[in-house]
C-alpha cells in the first residue's frame, strides 16, 4: 500500500460535499440578497422569487406541480411532518392506525412511536424479507379500514435495497389510506417521479445530493390532509411557520436542477464503482453482501465480513484516510447492532461485522480500487485479533450469518 495518502470518502449515504455550482449559487444570498421573503419591499421580492424558482426546480426533479412542494429543515423534519401532521390533521377519528416497516429511518420509526405514546395511535411494523425488501402482500395483510397512513422508504439508507413503493401505493389507496415515502436516499441517485409512484407525501433532504445540510422538502399531494407541527407564521401555506431558509432553499433548488439533469449519467458511474466493492465478496473469504438478491441503489454496498468487527475495520480505515460507515450515521456512535440488519435476519455477530460503502459519482475509479485493496488488507488484519483461528466456511443459511435460518 505504498501510495501517497489521500482521503477517500465512501460514506455518501451519510452526507456529501456541496457541489461547487451550488456553493456559487448560494453566495449572494449570504450577503447582498438577504431579504426576508415575507417583507413587502424590493430585496424581499427578490428573495421570494428565488424561493419560487427553487420550488419549481425541486418540482421538476420529483415530477410534480410547483405548488406541491413544501420546504422544511431536512429529511427528518419532512418525515415528522408527514407522519405527525397527517395524524393531527385527519378528519375521521376511526382512521388512526399507521402501517410501516421494521427497516425505516429513526425519524419515521420514532415519529410513529411518539404518536403511539402520546395519542395511543396503533402502529403496525411489517417485517422485511431476508433480502431487506418488504413483501407487498405483507403490507396488504396488515391493512384494514382503520389505517390512516402507510409509510415505506424508497431506498434503505444502510443496504440501499429498493422497496416496492408503487405496489404499496396501490394497496394503501385501495384501503383508503394515505401513503408516505421517505425518499431521502433515492433522490439524486435514481430517477424519481412521485406522480408515477402515486404517493401522497415524499420526503427529501438536500445534503444527500449536493445541497446544504439543514434543508429539505416534502412533496404533499393535498395540503388539506396535513396539520402544521409548529405555529407562529404563515410561511409554506401555514404548514411550516418560520422565516424561510433562503440560502438553503436556493441551494436545494440548484442541487435539484443538477441532479435532475445528471441522474442517468451519475447512476452509470456509481454502478461501475459499486461493482468494485460488490466484488469484495469474491476477494475476502466469509464475506457476504447484505441485500443480495434485491434491487439496490447504484451507489451502495453493505458488506458483512464475518468475524471482522466493523467498528475496528472502520477506525482502522479511518487512520488510512478511507471513510466508510458502520450503519446509519445517526447510529454509528453507539455499539448497538444495526436494527435494519437485525430486521433482515442477520445474527448479532453478522450485524456487528457489517460495513456500509456508499460512493458518489465524483469518486476516482483508481481511488475506489485502492480503497478496495485496503479494505481487503484491513479485514485480514482485524480478523487476526477478533476471530477464532479457524473460521472455516459456512453454508448459505449458517446461523453465524442468519438467525433462525
Amino acid at each position: 500500500m505504498g501510495r501517497p495518502r489521500r482521503e477517500i470518502y465512501l460514506d455518501r449515504n451519510a452526507t456529501g460535499p456541496v457541489r461547487r455550482e451550488v456553493a456559487e449559487a448560494v453566495r449572494p444570498f449570504l450577503t447582498e440578497r438577504f431579504g426576508n421573503p415575507s417583507a413587502p419591499y424590493a430585496v424581499a421580492r427578490q428573495a421570494r422569487e428565488h424561493v419560487r424558482q427553487a420550488r419549481a426546480q425541486v418540482a421538476a426533479l420529483l415530477g410534480c406541480d410547483t405548488g406541491d412542494i413544501l420546504f422544511t429543515g431536512g429529511g427528518t423534519e419532512s418525515n415528522n411532518l408527514a407522519i405527525k401532521g397527517s395524524f393531527l390533521g385527519r378528519d375521521a377519528p376511526d382512521r388512526c392506525r399507521i402501517v410501516t416497516t421494521t427497516i425505516e429511518h429513526p425519524s419515521v420509526r420514532e415519529s410513529c412511536l411518539w404518536l403511539e405514546r402520546h395519542f395511543g395511535t396503533p402502529v403496525t411494523f411489517v417485517p422485511v424479507q431476508r433480502t431487506g425488501q418488504v413483501d407487498p402482500r405483507e403490507i396488504e395483510a396488515a391493512m384494514g379500514p382503520d389505517v390512516l397512513l402507510v409509510s415505506v422508504m424508497h431506498a434503505n439508507n444502510e443496504t440501499g435495497v429498493l422497496q416496492p413503493v408503487r405496489e404499496v401505493a396501490e394497496i394503501a389507496h385501495r384501503c383508503g389510506a394515505l401513503f408516505h415515502v421517505d425518499g431521502v436516499q433515492a433522490v439524486g441517485k435514481l430517477p424519481v417521479n412521485v406522480t408515477e409512484i402515486d404517493c401522497d407525501f415524499y420526503s427529501i433532504s438536500a445534503h444527500k445530493f449536493g445541497g446544504l445540510k439543514g434543508v429539505g422538502a416534502l412533496y404533499v399531494r393535498d395540503r388539506a390532509v396535513l396539520a402544521p407541527l409548529q405555529s407562529g407564521g404563515h410561511q409554506e401555506g401555514g404548514l411550516r411557520a418560520g422565516t424561510e431558509n433562503v440560502p438553503g432553499i436556493a441551494a436545494l433548488g440548484k442541487a435539484a436542477e443538477i441532479a435532475h439533469s445528471h441522474v442517468d449519467e451519475n447512476r452509470e458511474k456509481c454502478l461501475a464503482l459499486r461493482r468494485i466493492f460488490d466484488n469484495l465478496t469474491k476477494r475476502i473469504p466469509m464475506t457476504r453482501l447484505n441485500g443480495a438478491g434485491a434491487e439496490r441503489l447504484p451507489n451502495t454496498t453493505n458488506l458483512c465480513c464475518l468475524y471482522a468487527d466493523a467498528m475496528s475495520v472502520v477506525l482502522a480505515l479511518s487512520v488510512e484516510g478511507i471513510y466508510v460507515g458502520t450503519g446509519s450515521a445517526c447510529a454509528s456512535h453507539t455499539q448497538a447492532p444495526s436494527k435494519i440488519l437485525r430486521a433482515m435476519g442477520l445474527s448479532e455477530l453478522a450485524a456487528y461485522c457489517s460495513i456500509r460503502i456508499s460512493v458518489g459519482p465524483e469518486l476516482d475509479p483508481e481511488d475506489a480500487e485502492f480503497a478496495a485493496d485496503t479494505i481487503v488488507e484491513t479485514v485480514k488484519r482485524i480478523r487476526l485479533v477478533t476471530a477464532p483461528e479457524e473460521i472455516g466456511t459456512c453454508d448459505e443459511d449458517c446461523p453465524c450469518f442468519l438467525e433462525n435460518a
Binding site: 477506525l315 487512520v319 485480514k380 487476526l384
Partner: protein, 98 residues
C-alpha cells in the same frame, strides 16, 4: 531496518474501563515475552496524541500506526502473529503489510 523496539500503543479511557484494563494487562504480558523487542505505550482517548488517530473507540490497539482493534479486547494469539510478522519484517528491512 527500523531501529528501536516495536511499540504497542493502547488508547484507553480515563479512568480505564474493564476492557481497557484487560487489554492493558494483555499488552504488557506480550511485551514481557519479547524483552527489548516490544514496548507498550498507553495514552488516554482525550489526549492530543490520540487525536492523531481521528475517531477513537476504547480500548484501541495500534501497531506500527495501524489500528488492529477498537472497542474490544484483542485475541492474544492474533496479536502475537501480527507482532511476529512485524518483527520478522523489521529484521529483514521490509514492511509487514497487513
Amino acid at each position: 531496518m527500523t531501529s528501536g523496539p516495536l511499540e504497542l500503543l493502547l488508547i484507553r479511557n480515563e479512568p480505564p474501563c474493564r476492557k481497557c484494563h484487560k487489554t492493558d494487562k494483555l499488552l504488557r504480558a506480550i511485551a514481557e515475552d519479547h524483552p527489548g523487542e516490544v514496548t507498550v505505550r498507553v495514552i488516554t482517548a482525550g489526549s492530543p496524541a490520540a487525536a492523531e488517530f481521528g475517531a477513537v473507540m476504547t480500548p484501541m490497539v495500534v501497531l506500527n500506526r495501524k489500528v488492529v482493534s477498537a472497542g474490544l479486547v484483542p485475541l492474544r494469539s492474533g496479536l502475537e502473529r501480527l507482532i511476529a510478522a512485524e518483527l520478522s519484517a523489521r529484521r529483514s528491512g521490509r514492511d509487514a503489510g497487513a
